[in-house]
Point group: C2
Chain length 242, copies 2
């Protein structure tokens, strides 16, 4: 049995509606997935749950879906946020894909002293995130925002959240698992540095932030993208929806 | 202060020795890292710990290191093994990089019913693993072997090991964190399927294997490469060296 493809649609969803697809989605459905008129497609828009639709029309310039009934109620991922500094483009895209799969509710891209990368292409990151959300069967989309400088971000850090700081430099850290297990808050922000790490001043500021939990991810040095997946897995397992 | 670069050398290491570098390592050291004669380089060979060396000579066709003293005793990563089915090349290379960073002792590439990828290029994967070991500061190298068919691999699975099977299909699973915490063995093999998952027959065989722990990595569908990093992080945090 073929599992129906799953598409994100940026508009309200309700029964009886006809939805003409954008070119890329039409190409994906008919050329990559090779679906034909009458076959099922699942739809979600990030807020109205998952909907059944059927391919009503495939023509050279237009693929149209007919929306039928709601399949699943809307649910949202746990209140887990990821803050990271821009890194090499391919690894940054990887972070966005993985954070989406691992159920992050929002991503904050922050500038740090050792950030040396070019401006991020937010639209490209959003496209990657949408594709990952389609594949991973999540019903909400994570937001991705440029959040300015780390120092300002820390000053405005809400007092009711836990800030999980994965510190590669390794002094004054506790292993992440017991640290998370001894901590009750389920509203969690994970902060991951650039490849060059944080400056001494930045590290002090982070440690002084209310709710900061300075943790270690083991004895080996992890790349930023590895640290993201590792930390998110631990957080979802201990406080999230795993 | 510049941290000395770290190189894997495939030969015994002892004081007073001169080591001429292979072309690629020589290029990396002098062109990428821009090191000069007299600067320090750290060396490891997977079994003799980490050694201090100095660049003794840089000539057009030859870079030579002079080995000085041992810096660190040899240590080995925990007894964690990763078995995975071949997937798309870029994601497979990613798995090898990440598994090396996350301290896997050996990798077994297994064929499954739904495996459709071309033969793996073992040498290329070993090169990626060496680079990752250099970066992540681990002192041993993981082995990477082609381990044949899943069914034979399961028949020969040692009775004293735990087999952590991350089952995307989701019935009869327990969340990975409590499953690992309730299990005492620290000799662990993690089994990750291809993108298409395992067949019903394969899944039954896995579940019947002595020591099998059928676990879930949460409600979202993870790609194979994400599942590898997530499962390895959990195992290192609960039973490994984190």
């Amino acid at each position: 049995m073929k599992v129906p493809p799953r598409l994100y649609i940026d508009q309200p969803l309700h029964s009886g509606q006809d939805i003409p697809l954008a070119l890329e989605a039409a190409h994906y459905l008919t050329k990559v997935m090779r679906r034909r008129v009458g076959e099922n497609v699942r739809l979600f828009n990030g807020k109205d749950g998952e909907w059944q639709s059927k391919i009503a029309q495939i023509e050279r310039r237009q693929v149209v879906l007919g929306v039928e009934n709601q399949l699943l109620q809307q649910i949202y991922c746990p209140d887990v946020e990821l803050a990271f500094a821009p890194i090499k483009r391919s690894r940054q895209e990887f972070i966005v894909e993985k954070a989406t799969e691992l159920g992050v509710r929002n991503m904050q891209i922050i500038n740090t002293e050792y950030t040396s990368q070019k401006p991020v292409r937010l639209e490209r990151l959003q496209t990657i995130s949408i594709e990952a959300a389609e594949q991973t069967e999540r019903m909400d989309l994570p937001s991705i925002v440029q959040a300015g400088d780390l120092k300002d971000w820390l000053l405005e850090f809400p007092t009711d959240r836990t800030l999980v700081f994965c510190d590669e430099s390794g002094t004054d850290t506790v292993p992440i698992l017991p640290a998370l297990q001894n901590h009750k808050s389920k509203s969690i922000s994970i902060l991951i540095g650039p490849e060059g790490g944080f400056s001494k001043q930045e590290r002090d500021l982070i440690a002084q932030t209310s709710g900061a939990l300075v943790v270690s991810l083991g004895p080996r040095i992890l790349r930023s993208d590895t640290a993201v997946v590792a930390a998110l897995s631990m957080v979802q397992a201990v406080h999230g929806d795993w």
